[in-house]
């Protein structure tokens, strides 16, 4: 890899609890500008909890999350989202009782003053995902799983994310749909969008990802590039194979 990109988000020594049970044990993670950073791990490894802690949805008990020169660990969730860290979760992806277009309109945010990159508009979203234009007046709840996933990503894009967080975008989807979502993510990457992607599907992630971290039992077990990961079968079989 040539030059090293600027850091967008840095997580340092994050601890999170659900009630009394300790979920994240000192997780550290770096996401760089314009890269796809993958967070791999099995079910229940702590991927979604980590993301929820970054987004302020699950309060972390200790640690730091640095974004745009500020520690956002205590910032309310809606401020984090409006400052550009926008998640797209795999469960309850969309608002089913609104139409596709209304879902997108809700995702819209005021452009931030320091906006340098592409500004996403509904027209641009429709260009990228023509299927949404076709279904714009339908109830979002009546879309198929794959279409809902696309809508979920599109809704997040409407907020013009500095950092787009995709939580298992391929979960429960057919291989054809997974391939098309992969293509869309590549387009986003080409647009210089920084992406944090959590996945169980190593094959899918390795096609897109630049950097990669493996999380297991709430701890980061591996950090590096996919190239090194492929040469290291033991890590893959220990932490990722089912």
């Amino acid at each position: 890899m040539g030059k090293i990109h600027k850091i967008v988000l840095e997580v340092k020594d994050l601890h999170t609890y659900y009630g009394l049970s300790h979920i994240l044990f000192g997780v550290s993670l770096i996401v760089r500008q314009g890269e796809v950073t993958c967070l791999l791990g099995r079910n229940g490894a702590g991927k979604t909890t980590l993301i929820k802690s970054i987004c302020g949805l699950v309060p972390a008990s200790s640690g730091e999350v640095w974004y745009q020169g500020k520690n956002i660990i205590k910032t309310p969730a809606h401020r984090i989202a409006s400052s550009g860290v926008i998640p797209a979760f795999s469960d309850n992806r969309i608002f089913g009782n609104l139409t596709v277009k209304e879902n997108l309109e809700i995702g819209k945010m005021r452009p931030r003053s320091d906006e340098k990159r592409v500004i996403w508009t509904i027209e641009k979203i429709y260009d990228l995902f023509p299927i949404l234009k076709e279904f714009e007046k339908r109830w979002a709840g009546s879309l198929s799983g794959g279409q809902q996933q696309i809508l979920c990503v599109a809704k997040a894009l409407m907020g013009n994310p500095e950092l787009l967080i995709l939580d298992e975008p391929t979960i429960g989807l057919a291989p054809v749909v997974i391939a098309s979502i992969g293509e869309q993510i590549e387009i986003l990457k080409a647009e210089n969008t920084s992406i944090l992607l959590t996945e169980q599907n190593v094959k899918f992630a390795s096609r897109l990802g630049d950097a990669c971290s493996i999380i297991d039992m709430g701890e980061i077990k591996y950090q590096g590039t996919f190239k090194d990961l492929h040469n290291n079968e033991s890590i893959v079989s220990e932490y990722l194979s089912v």
Partner: protein, 325 residues
């Protein structure tokens, strides 16, 4: 579809509104005083229930204290007319605004809560106001305020009715426009999943608070209209049982539709009027009929509108098959 409303009102829906409005406007010229009175009450109760449904059907909360805002609007109107020399038009604006102020105060706590806690605290705050109203001398204690003089122009039953209908329709249209804006979409999104709304950068707490104030303002308008209608106001307006009425009207009419509360109000009040004329034990029969309505029409009376035409269609299709066969 059982999903919430069709807010993108097509021309067909607007035609319906205009038609209903025109019919309502000519009622006083043909109907009896009895019907004019009944319709005035239906419109007012429907409006109050609609303010509840803004939070119940569209926001996913259960407000059990809207009687507080109904009473605030009513008492503010009565007091302003009796004790001050403010022009009538000013009263019409200040009275609902007072209800909104009360809503803004109560809402600080209530809108932070969800589900049962929301319902219980809103009912409790409503009872606080009920107690206050009975204890403060200027509010007339248990006897309330009677003999509120309204301007000549509105002194007849028909005039109050027409005024009510105009105000109610104006508020209905404004609410419809509001619900079909990003504000309304967020309100419905909160109903589904507040956390996800947070992820779109909206401040859920602030949004719920503003919606609560708007709702209490509308309920205040209903209270104000009721004083113009009856020229008196009583502490029972602030009792939580009144809030229960509003919620019941919503459920009866269908919480998942915009116009449901209006239909529910018509159903409840007409039912009430007819059953009371038949028997002394009207509450018993009213209760039973409401139980039946809720069991057999879980999505309210408006829930039928989607199914009924389809059922009729399929019935005719079937009989068509039989003929051919």
């Amino acid at each position: 579809m059982d999903k919430i409303r069709n807010l993108q009102a097509g021309t067909r829906e607007w035609t319906w509104y205009v038609a209903v409005f025109v019919i309502l406007m000519i009622v006083p010229f043909f109907g009896s005083i009895f019907w004019t009175n009944l319709l005035t009450e239906i419109l007012i109760m429907g409006l109050a229930a609609m303010s509840v449904n803004l939070l119940l059907g569209f926001g996913g909360s259960l407000p059990f204290g809207h009687a507080a805002f109904f009473a605030s609007g009513a008492y503010a109107t009565a007091l302003l007319i009796k004790e001050t020399n403010l022009p009538f038009l000013a009263v019409l604006i200040i009275a609902p605004a007072m209800a909104a102020v009360v809503g803004a105060v109560f809402g600080i706590i209530i809108t932070r809560l969800y589900e049962f806690y929301y319902a219980i605290v809103s009912a409790a705050s409503c009872m606080v106001l009920w107690t206050l109203i009975r204890k403060v001398p200027i509010l007339g204690g248990d006897t309330g305020i009677t003999g509120v003089e309204i301007p000549e122009l509105l002194s007849s039953i028909d005039a109050v009715y027409i005024f009510t209908a105009i105000v109610v329709f104006t508020v209905l249209i404004c609410t419809k426009i509001l619900l079909n804006s990003p504000f309304g979409w967020i309100q419905q999104a909160i109903r589904e999943n507040p956390n996800r709304v947070t992820c779109t950068g909206s401040n859920v707490l602030r949004h719920r608070y503003i919606a609560f104030i708007i709702s209490s303002f509308i309920c205040g308008i209903a209270g104000m209209l009721f004083v113009l209608h009856t020229q008196s106001t009583f502490p029972s307006y602030a009792h939580w049982i009144k809030s229960g009425d509003f919620v019941m009207i919503c459920i009866l009419g269908g919480v998942n539709t915009f116009i449901g509360p209006m239909v529910g109000a018509a159903a409840l009040i007409i039912l009430q009027t007819y059953i009371t004329s038949l028997t002394q034990h009207w509450l018993l029969f009213l209760g039973i009929s409401i139980c039946l309505l809720v069991i057999f029409m879980p999505s309210g009376i408006m829930g039928l509108t989607g199914h009924l035409p389809k059922k009729i269609q399929s019935f005719f299709k079937k009989s068509g098959h039989n003929q051919r066969g």
